[in-house]
Symmetry: D2
Subunit: 419 residues, 4 copies
């Protein structure tokens, strides 16, 4: 096992760890560890809400989650010799839920043998289909090696494409200022919107390693929230950052200052219910290297590039749903809007699954968490963008394909709901 | 070989065929053929522009293309017993370019041993990156079995995921009226835009099988243009409608009235340069069946669903490019916009390829036509949607992956340009 | 379409073609065509028995087949500049059954929309399980694009891995002499065996292009039979020589003198019933090149090497059967014998399939012709070699996997039998 | 993590464990643990030689290994309710090397961050190519997540298909007697052979759980050696018994009495150098169930059947080597012998790799341990069986494919040799 350069005690909150992590992006958060190019190392991670969600049958914890502390990240890890303009080459050697000691029973923290998928309430972040599902819901998943099942979504078993939702390098002060400016400008176009258009810096709940007092306050005032992906990588939620993947991150500050977490046991493309992966704590084993001056050499200036892993589960038969950029309820046409097209593909999948006895909420949670693929199929055939959602048929223990006899409807239980 | 129910002489225009096809969607275009559920049949197709583009080294033909006659479709084919509310089950048994007789040389029509990819001029339709590439360009591809190469994009050879860009059922009169209404409403928001937001019915260039005179004029005034995908299927440009795929089309009129064409030797997800596939004429062999009342049984009301084929080329190593919904030039943030995110992923891929010596136009044509995958990776991490473009590394005859030594730059020629 | 350098009229026997092919390996058979390195060309092929088997429900034709004329090969094709010691680089660009003209009905020759799989009688060649199935049987398969079904084996539909069973270069006179010597030595160990241990040269039925009289007689006396694979390539029956594959053949004579045929619509590893593929006539499109001195450069002296294609059907779920080198009937142990181990794996698969209602003969024909994989799993764990047969589960229209309820037995008809 | 029902302290020999395992097959070895159908549990395993081989640069330990104690198995585990005639359904949920505690350095036992591949000396077991490589050799591999590299075989890095080489149920007394009889009969045909044809019961080195004195002596006299696969499963060395696989074992005694071990980080088909996998200790997580009366229901009487896993590494480009059943050195022809054919395919691969600078021993160790596929390609084309070895090209950090320029020869170091 490679050396653990960032360790976590899963019985304690991130703030209470010996070396705490952080939950904002800022160049002045001090390094928690140092690594050399060419080395292998392990990073341990808390689940992204720092353990607010429990293995139970109520979605009240999802409804009431405090998002000011999210995402709880491990790091920063300084890479010796990294300078702005380099590319940080990160290989994901291994990753998984919290390794458990012999004979331990299922633990209290997500990742200790279980994880969860949540639909956030509209008042608390919402999700991709919040206009259709405004309440809070939850499904708890049990881990069986690389497979997951849920008592809240019976009839389904799948192999997870396990990955970290979020890793990235620290922004420079100049880059951070640009983020804050452009996102505030967006918020200003509709400041009262629920859910909001973007999340500005927030002093409440801020954690920045060992910083305290005025230094911590400054991070709270200036530090970028961790929700979106940006020029440093960040919360990509790209399910194919999995075992065997290699990611090339732009370096914006000396030492690169790598941080991350938000591990997912599984997730579908889009992570559509926002807390849509199977969320968990756990570990990632990395190999790190540098391409000096790589940003300019390869023209990689705005976003990382990556090579996906080669041990993803092999699903090869899919039932695929199409969506176009039309609001079918009001017969309103949008111009080439892939977001609306993918939303319709999701809604079409949910309608289909309801015919087999799932509730809409169950279906929504399922296509959030299962290894579905989301494709941008057509973006030029004006005015209708066309997106597709590929649902693997093998994850169901009944035949999900259309046939002359019609769908096999059954009582398929219920997900966890809020009170 | 199954019976040919719609045949095409590739030396003649569609209007000059014994049984002509059509280029608008309308319920009153008469059936060109009849088939029974359970039967297999072949449909022959003209290339979508009806042969306006040549195998040469100038993009003038692309610049000057007459889009009023596009897409030239084969059909309609009436399916016995099909009624509104049914699902039409269509298996793609085989498909390919124009089968050539023994000893024939390369033919004049696209599909006769060759095809092309075009970038349309901004004044004539444009494409996904028209703000960056406003002129007309072209690449001609030679077919070698299932593989393609281009003298205009050297260093590349790939196996095509051959598919029809466009098949669909006829709309009912009521559905057609809704299309025309909602698309006109969109156009009305910015009627002078270049390129336009949508394309209204257009009498010029209309073809509707054997209809003539006032009946043809009415089709021209009312018939929907074939560019976008809609509730009848239509121009999906989904590259995975390939050999072995099964599509379930909603039926809106008696007989279903299946039509299509726009065959592609290969295409990347998004078909980003608009005429972005390798365009060709050719044939499709179908098996057809019905699920009576299937729309209601399975909740398939707005779009077809489908199962992709199992003989697609197996590319497994990819270099992947990420885009987020930010205009990096102006540092403007958009809200969760997957279209902008995918556009940025495309632009990032092009910048990367330019470092190896390709021109931007060559790179744009390449990622339009090659079997790249486009993924909706994250659509909930406000404000930044995140899309990814997966470029298979094996299609290049040099190493395209990033390394310490930097990119292998070379003279890589030029695509066809307009005068 | 590439130029046809060897053409076949499927209504005529090979001997009656304008330029006939041959059915023995011999360096003195004159070239039927010439090609240049770097060129693409088409070769048309007769089915391997030259059309002795019909699309009917009796196996009498299989029982009575005349093997003296087999395999009927197309060629030889001389490659300009090829010299002994080179490697001939052959790309399979495309291949398939007999292309049919528009509107034609199913033809009389195998490959014209149909093919067959045969079990030979013990007295006439036998097969891998001839001790268990000594009579003649047959299954006729209908082609549906790349898929096949059989009225003789209902409940099954699969995508073929289409390939030529046999291509090779001509042996030198010296190499031919060695073949004849070593095979005669083997025959001499048990000259009366039925079926024989090997097949010596046979003047009866010989065809050698345009040769006649004493020259033809000499080919008949000296020419090696085409049944086994040898140092020139030959009858490999490797199912993965399919579209996109590249084969490197040793060159033993000036011009290389490439010949082949024995096209298979589909075949399982081992081609276990001898005539165990779906046999057909058809075409292959090749690209050819040379590696000068490649045999020595790469140490390729005894057999070709190859790279398999990338468009094989993607079956990923398999039910796998194990066999070890024990005769379970007599409880006799053999030493590390992979042939016996694979035979037992085949017999175990057949026993399993019988529980679902197939006859043993149907099951034997099925695992001969379907895309099953045969693996050498262990060859060192003395005394028991261990081989495995991978049967794709998706080819059945019922659930073939073991479950608590037991197998779903049904009446599954019958294959064609001999009178 | 599932409950550990058989635990191992990797610093102690198997005999010194709190609950020891065993190294012979016998029905009277008492159960070490009990599990219920439907449960999940973990089994920890010692490396097969019980730790005789070290992480060093000499093959003396391989040369001098004591095989009388091999394989060291964990178990037996009694399954409640299992009766003769049932099928034991075993799912491999997860497996891997020895989980290491935080901050531990590489351990002394194979599996603690490393493993090894050995070529045994002809006098001590030999291997598949012992006539060509009669001495002892070794390669040590370092683990990097699911990937392995070796200082003894530079230029190679691959993802392991991790699997247990050996699991099985206990034989009945009657079945055990048949094994002993048939294997002794084989030995008697050539009793002095080196290496021997089979291994008879051996009192020396026997371990049978807690049994001692006369009871242990009896196990030593009667118990079957663990080297071959037999009717109980056993040492299959099937590399595809990996994560996600399901195996159906015949049950021969009450409780089934499941035992196993011999974990492999990676292995090629055939495990050709005998100790040819990357050998290690570690753990397996199982789910267990029963199909009552399943042996008769499904006709599974001689060997287990199985379904391979779905998270194997995806290698899709291969360079493939062919072998036929001819001794090319003496020009001797064998009849349809797949063992000789596969041996020739292996030798052809080794000759090829030597042209790139590897020694024969390095190449032999490499194709033993890397994820190569071994296929029974043709077994009916008398007299020559045809087998193929598929070598994935992506495991090399240089281009291994044939080209016009010839192989890229380099100094590639040396494997560990014996003094």
């Amino acid at each position: 096992m490679p050396e653990v350069v960032f360790s976590v005690d899963q019985t304690l909150s991130m703030a209470a760890q010996l070396v705490p992590g952080h939950n904002r992006w800022h160049p002045d958060i001090p390094a928690a560890a140092n690594v050399r190019p060419g080395s292998e190392f392990r990073v341990e991670c808390r689940e992204w809400t720092d353990g607010q969600i429990g293995d139970n049958d109520s979605a009240d914890d999802v409804r009431d989650v405090d998002l000011s502390v999210c995402h709880m990240l491990s790091g920063p890890i300084a890479v010796e010799g990294a300078e702005p303009g380099d590319l940080l080459v990160l290989d994901i050697l291994d990753l998984g839920p919290v390794p458990q000691s012999t004979g331990s029973s299922m633990g209290a923290a997500p990742g200790e043998g279980w994880g969860y998928t949540g639909i956030f309430a509209r008042e608390n972040g919402g999700g991709f289909l919040t206009d259709h599902f405004p309440q809070a819901y939850k499904a708890v998943w049990d881990f069986h090696g690389q497979q997951a099942t849920s008592r809240h979504i019976p009839g389904v078993r799948f192999t997870g494409i396990t990955h970290p939702g979020l890793f990235g390098t620290a922004p420079s002060a100049e880059l951070l200022a640009r983020w804050n400016a452009r996102e505030q400008a967006l918020i200003d176009t509709d400041p009262g919107r629920v859910p909001p258009l973007a999340l500005p810096p927030l002093p409440q709940g801020v954690l920045a390693g060992t910083l305290k007092g005025p230094e911590l306050d400054r991070i709270g005032r200036e530090g970028a929230r961790t929700v979106p992906a940006r020029e440093n990588g960040g919360n990509h939620d790209i399910k194919n950052f999995t075992r065997g993947a290699r990611v090339f991150y732009p370096v914006h500050v000396p030492g690169a200052m790598l941080s991350g977490g938000d591990l997912h046991f599984s997730q579908g493309d889009g992570e559509i219910s926002f807390c849509g992966a199977i969320e968990m704590g756990g570990f990632v084993d990395f190999h790190v290297d540098l391409i000096k001056g790589g940003m300019e050499k390869y023209g990689v200036t705005t976003n990382p590039i990556f090579m996906p892993g080669n041990v993803e589960p092999r699903y090869t038969e899919f039932l695929s749903f199409i969506g176009i950029s039309v609001d079918h309820g009001t017969d309103t046409n949008f111009y080439n809007d892939a977001t609306i097209a993918y939303r319709n593909a999701c809604l079409n999948a949910i309608e289909y699954l309801k015919k087999f006895g799932y509730s809409g909420e169950q279906a929504y949670l399922l296509i959030s968490a299962a290894p579905v693929e989301g494709r941008v199929s057509g973006v030029v055939d004006i005015p209708n963008a066309c997106c597709t959602l590929y649902l693997p048929t093998a994850i169901f223990d009944f035949d999900i394909r259309p046939g002359a006899d019609g769908p096999r409807r059954a009582d398929r239980g219920s997900c966890a709901v809020s009170g």
